[in-house]
Symmetry: C2
Subunit: 242 residues, 2 copies
Amino acid sequence: MKEIQDREQLNHYLRAFQLDSVFHEPLLPHLSLYGFEQGDLICTQGQAPEYLYVLVNGKIKIYTTSSEGKTLVLSFKTPLEVIGDVEYVRGTPILNTVEAVSSVHMIGIQYRWLHKYGKDHAPLLRFLLEIITQKFYIKSNSLSFNLMHPVEVRLASYLLSVTSDESDSRLEGQQSEVSLSDAANFIGTSYRHLNRVIRQFCNKGLVERDKGVIVVKDRNGLSALAGHNIYEHHRGKGGTRL
Amino acid sequence: MKEIQDREQLNHYLRAFQLDSVFHEPLLPHLSLYGFEQGDLICTQGQAPEYLYVLVNGKIKIYTTSSEGKTLVLSFKTPLEVIGDVEYVRGTPILNTVEAVSSVHMIGIQYRWLHKYGKDHAPLLRFLLEIITQKFYIKSNSLSFNLMHPVEVRLASYLLSVTSDESDSRLEGQQSEVSLSDAANFIGTSYRHLNRVIRQFCNKGLVERDKGVIVVKDRNGLSALAGHNIYEHHRGKGGTRL
DNA sequence: GCCAATTCAGGACATATGTCCTTTCCCAAT
DNA sequence: ATTGGGAAAGGACATATGTCCTGAATTGGC
C-alpha cells in the first residue's frame, strides 16, 4: 500500500460517487487516497482495524480462512464498496481478509476521526446503513443459496454472474485475476469437484474449456439450471427510503 | 396479531431496553405494542413491509422458503432484536418469513413515521447500525461455518448453543417450541440425515434420546467436535465505537 | 530448444448427504 | 380396550462431494 498524494484525484472520486455529503467538511482533511497492487492485502482477518476504506477503483476479493486452513471466498467487490464498516460500528477485530485482485484505489479514513466528527452526522450514518444493509442482503441470499442448492446450480449461477456485465460470452480462467480455485472457494466446494462439474457442463455443451479458460456457450442453458437464482451483485439504486 | 393497548407496558419495555433515546419524542405517539401467539406469522417473505418491529419479549424464528418448497431456518432470536430494519433502509420486499415460536411482544412503528421523524435522528440511525452490523456479523459467521463444516460439527455446535444458556444439560425435542425438523432446517440438512448423525452421537455417548427428546450427556465431547466454532448468539456489549 | 518446477485435469476411492419408503410407536377419538 | 392417523426413527439406495494421488500440460530459466 502506498499513499497517493493527489488531492485532485481524491476529490474527483468523492464527486464521482457523490460522497461530498457523506464526508463533510470536518472529515475532509483526514481522508487519504491509497493505492494497492494486485495481490496486496488491504486488511487481515483477526487484526485490529484502524481505517475505514472506501473502494473507488479496481476489484477486491474478500475471504476468510478457517483454523484448519480452508479458504472461503466470500465475495468479489467493485466500487462503490466499503471495507471496515462493520468493524467500525461494532468495535471488533477484522472479520475477513481483503485482497486486491487488480490495481486498486481506496479512500481511507481513521476510525478516530470518523468517530470524532462523524458519529452524529446523519448523512454518514445513512450511507453506512445503505452499504451495510446491502451487504447483509447479499450475504443473506448467499447463505440460503449455498445451503439449498448443489454445486452444479451454484456454478451455473456464478458463471452467469461473472460473464454478464463484461463482454458477450466472457471467458474466465487462471491469469484473469480470478482463478479457478478462487471460483471453487467462492462456490464453497473443492477444486476437484469444481472440475468435475465443469466437465459435466462441457458434455452438455453449456461451456467449453480452452487452455484453462472457461468459455460460456449457452447462457440460456445455464439460466435454466440456475433457475432465477443469481449471485446477486444487486446494487440497489439506493436511498429509496432513507 | 393483536394490539396491546397498554401504554404503561410499552414504556416499561422502552426503559428496560434503553430505547428512550432511540425513539425520541416525535416518534413516541406512533409506537404500538403488539402481541403474537406461538405459530403466528409476524411477516411473510416477499410481501411489502409496513412496520419496523422491535422484539421485546418471547422467541421468534426466521426462515426462508425456496421456490422448490425447501425451508431454511436462518435463526432463532430473542430480545433485543429488530425485524424489518434491512427492508426499511433498502425499500425492498420482506426478505424472510418471521414466526413466533412462543408468545411474543413486539413494539411496532410504521415506516412512514420512522422516516418522517427519524431519518435525521442520529441515535436511531446508530441503533439501526448496531443491530444490523450484529446481524451481519452473525450471518457472516453462519455462512462460513455452514460452508466449511460437515453436519456433524454443525449439530454439535447447535446443541451446545441451545443448551448453554438454559438449564444444565437441557433437553430439546418436539413440543419444546423448537422441533427436530426445525433443527434440521436450521443446520441446513435433511431430517433424515439429522437423525443419522444423532444416532452417531448416541453411539459415542455424547447425547441420549428419550421419547423424541435429545439430552446432552457430554458437553466437552461436543465441544471437541465443534472445535471452538459455536453458532454465535454473539450479543456484543454494543456501542464501543459509535 | 530442453529440463525442472509448477499448475492443471482427471481417476479411484471414501465419505457425506439426500430421497424414498417402511416400520414402529404414541395418542386421540370412539 | 380398539383402531386409525400421524409423527418419529431408521433401512436401502442413489447422488453429491471430499481426499489423495497420478499423469498431462504449461511455464520460466538456462
